[in-house]
């Protein structure tokens, strides 16, 4: 695939940056200073869960071990998310410099990029880029002349499993096992890859770290809201004139985003990918932020012509496919929810059954082992509740009347 180099602009991630600058700055600082900058920035993990980066890195750097690892989670599998693809293809310097800074801060000697199998076409490009970095001593031994600062990056190719975006499943797969999530605790910060302290960070998080190191934590924290600082990359797709990746400050309203991407006749917006929530028109004044509508950046837009039950069916088929099958609530629950959608489709349901299935969904949210099963009922519950008129009541009985 040819690299579609677009001129992108944005307040943080897409702002000016010259390769190597963050590393130069980092080697002149102590590890503690970098951690304090991150603390000031209040940067939270960009994969969706939103764990504070400074806390994760403080715990990992405090862990005592010969070997530590920094893993860049580029297993971007959430439907409707493609920001990591854009970052890796167009801004590899941000991601890799962030990893080198991370390695220095944590005391890790090895960084691993877990690249999803679907992005195999990037492999050569990224390997070549790492080769350039090694040539310029931005990777390798005694980086930029700093004594005993050794760090190298390896790219590991995933193999088409959505669940491997979950950090412990990712580590299992790195270790050569089935990508089934582990129980947490212990967390990877103590017992990660090969039982060593490991920090798993999203691609976008590492890119943000690069900018924070150069420009300072308080510069970053000026943007966004109090609890969600900085900006976020949104992957916008679906019914709009200008789909693509947008960098917007946290706190942007959904309606504002719709205006920017020139969406018309919008009926619903699915925020956070298949595992996210479906927001109806009446709630478009909600803000995108960890404390309001939290998201890893996927925004899918549906206009008035779309059949929301069809959308829901597509999501549930996805989860039935991608459930790893390890725990019962997720393995069986998703199949049952999909059956429910098919029952509605055929008009062969009772409301008692639908309510039971919503209960089952809430059970899955509580009882599933990892984030997949805990979040897969979200679209089922939010679409059936927010679009119940369309699905059950419209035209004298919705699908019943058809």
């Amino acid at each position: 695939m040819e690299v579609l180099k677009k001129k992108r602009t944005g307040p943080v991630i897409f702002s000016e940056y010259k390769r190597g600058n963050a590393i130069k700055k980092a080697v002149s600082m102590s590890r503690e200073d970098i951690l304090f900058e991150l603390k000031d920035s209040k940067l939270k993990g960009r994969g969706g869960a939103g764990f504070p980066v400074s806390t994760k890195w403080m715990l990992t750097s405090a862990a005592k071990s010969e070997d530590k690892f920094l893993v860049c989670n580029a297993d971007e599998g959430e439907p409707g998310t493609f920001k990591d693809r854009v970052l890796l293809m167009e801004y590899p310097e941000l991601v890799f410099d962030g990893m080198v800074v991370g390695g220095y801060t944590l005391g890790a000697k090895k960084g691993i990029v877990y690249l999803r199998g679907e992005y195999e076409y990037m492999l050569k490009l990224l390997e070549d880029y790492l080769g350039e970095m090694r040539k310029d001593n931005l990777l390798g031994d005694n980086i930029l002349g700093k004594q005993d600062y050794n760090f190298d990056i390896e790219i590991f190719l995933g193999s088409g499993a959505y669940v491997c975006g979950e950090e412990t499943a990712l580590i299992e797969s790195l270790e050569g096992h089935r990508g089934e999530p582990r129980n947490r605790p212990p967390y990877p910060i103590n017992t990660g890859f090969l039982g060593r302290p490991t920090s798993v960070n999203n691609v976008e998080t590492l890119a943000a770290v690069t900018h924070i190191v150069v420009k300072g934590g308080s510069w970053f924290a000026k943007l966004g809201t109090d609890k969600s600082t900085g900006s976020k990359l949104f992957s916008v797709s679906g019914d709009c004139e200008k789909p693509g990746v947008y960098e917007l400050p946290w706190g942007t309203k959904i309606s504002e985003l719709l205006k920017i991407v020139e969406a018309k006749d919008t009926k619903a917006v699915q925020v956070g990918g298949a595992s996210g929530f479906c927001i109806p028109k009446s709630q478009f004044d909600k803000k995108l932020a960890y404390e309001h509508v939290s998201t890893g950046g996927s925004v899918m837009i549906f206009n008035e012509s779309r059949d929301m039950l069809h959308v829901l069916k597509n999501f549930m088929e996805f989860f039935v496919d991608e459930s790893c099958g390890q725990c019962t609530p997720c393995r069986i629950g998703n199949v049952k929810l999909l059956e429910g959608v098919e029952m509605i489709e055929k008009g062969e349901y009772t409301f008692a059954q639908i309510n039971k299935l919503k209960d089952l969904g809430r059970t899955m949210q509580l009882a599933s082992k990892c984030g997949l099963g805990q979040s897969s009922p979200n679209p089922f519950i939010s679409i059936l509740e927010n679009f119940n008129d369309e699905i059950f009541n419209a035209a004298n009985g919705g699908r019943n009347g058809k």
């Binding site: 998310t81 193999s159 088409g160 050569g176 089935r178 019914d239 693509g244 790893c324």
Partner: protein, 157 residues
């Protein structure tokens, strides 16, 4: 399988093991290499990998069966994967699928008689803003029409 073939495969797998190491954590990368070259990981290949990494063959099989991109049964020489997730679905993935099925005379999940193509659905390829998207082996193609998709298949050897 002929002895000569077996020996060649053994040697090939040994070269991967030398490249990625004998640790269990090298397993997935080794399987990738075999999959890329042979489009499947045969029982014999599984046994060889297990022998060289000093693990039980069923461990290798269990990893293969987990991942969507690894398979133990042979597939066609070229793997065509059409993204079925909602953004590509809304941009007309059904049209692509129907056109390709008509043209090749097979259904999704099947392999052509001449063993040239296997067609499958893929979950989100991460190309949602430029859908509908399709992958032929490790190459991806964007903003397809049924006509363009069929034309692309014609160019594959």
């Amino acid at each position: 399988m002929f002895v000569a073939e077996k020996n060649a495969l053994s040697e090939e797998i040994e070269s991967y093991v030398n490249k990625y190491g004998k640790n269990r954590s090298a397993l997935l990368m080794i399987l990738h290499e075999i999959q890329r070259k042979h489009r499947h990981i045969s029982e014999f290949a599984q046994q060889e990998v297990a022998r060289l990494l000093n693990i039980h063959p069923v461990e290798v099989y269990s990893v293969i069966s987990f991942f969507a991109f690894l398979n133990s049964n042979p597939k066609g020489r070229n793997l065509v994967r059409i993204c079925q997730t909602i953004s590509c679905d809304m941009k007309g993935k059904n049209g692509l699928v129907k056109a390709i099925e008509r043209e090749l005379g097979i259904k999704i999940g099947e392999t052509t008689k001449d063993n040239k193509f296997t067609i499958e659905y893929a979950n989100c390829l991460g190309l949602c803003e430029v859908g509908p998207a399709m992958a032929i082996n490790d190459q991806v193609f964007l903003q397809l029409t049924p006509e363009k998709a069929v034309e692309l298949l014609g160019k594959v050897k």
